[in-house]
């Protein structure tokens, strides 16, 4: 099974609409002072959404201007599946280990920072696993 990923105009439009909604939501939250708690290092939830919007604009622009055709074949799908499964298993194992560690010595790190680290660690582990499997298969 093979599929070719090309950045189409329709796909680009959906992305632009999504970014616009995200950023408008951010501006609205800031305007009405909703979500003023700190989130992932940002002073408000609105600022965080606006920042994500800008990052998405950057990524979408790069995707649009490079316009590379990406082939996804069965081998790549197999690599994705294996990397995903392995990452999931490790995530479960680490979560279990952290529960035990928290019982021995309480983790006092801020929740938002902890989740940020966890998301980055999961993504990094997935990328590394994918690269290793890509060399193996």
């Amino acid at each position: 099974m093979t599929s070719k990923k090309v950045v189409t105009k329709k796909g680009m439009m959906y992305r632009i609409v999504f970014i616009a909604v995200l950023m408008a939501g951010g501006f609205l939250l800031n305007t009405y002072n909703i979500g003023t708690n700190e989130l992932f290092g940002f002073s408000t939830v609105g600022n965080y959404l606006i920042y994500i919007g800008f990052v998405m604009i950057l990524v979408t622009s790069i995707m649009y201007f490079t316009k590379r055709e990406k082939i996804i074949d069965e081998r790549i799908e197999m690599l994705r599946y294996r990397a995903g499964t392995l990452t999931y298993m490790v995530f479960i194992f680490v979560a279990f280990a952290l529960i035990i560690l928290d019982g021995i010595r309480p983790i006092t790190m801020r929740y938002s920072l902890f989740i940020s680290y966890a998301v980055c660690a999961v993504l990094l582990f997935y990328v590394i696993t994918y690269k290793v499997l890509d060399r193996k298969y």
């Binding site: 082939i71 074949d73 069965e74 081998r75 193996k136 298969y137």
Partner: protein, 64 residues
């Protein structure tokens, strides 16, 4: 699984990229198949057999 992809590909003067384009996979997949690191699906094996103008899948893919 052993394959004769490289042998037949060289015989027909086809590059890995050309064969990859014919069967709609990446060049890396063709390389993995040639090195025997990856076992293809029946669909891909069939496509490669046709692309290399062979009659049977067994002509190209040999079980160890």
């Amino acid at each position: 699984m052993k394959t004769k992809i490289k042998e037949f590909r060289k015989e027909q003067k086809i590059t890995q990229e050309e064969l990859a384009a014919m069967v709609e996979v990446t060049r890396q997949t063709i390389n993995s198949l040639e090195q025997g690191r990856y076992n293809p699906s029946l669909e891909l094996a069939y496509k490669i057999t046709k692309a290399l103008h062979k009659d049977k899948i067994e002509d190209i893919f040999i079980m160890d």
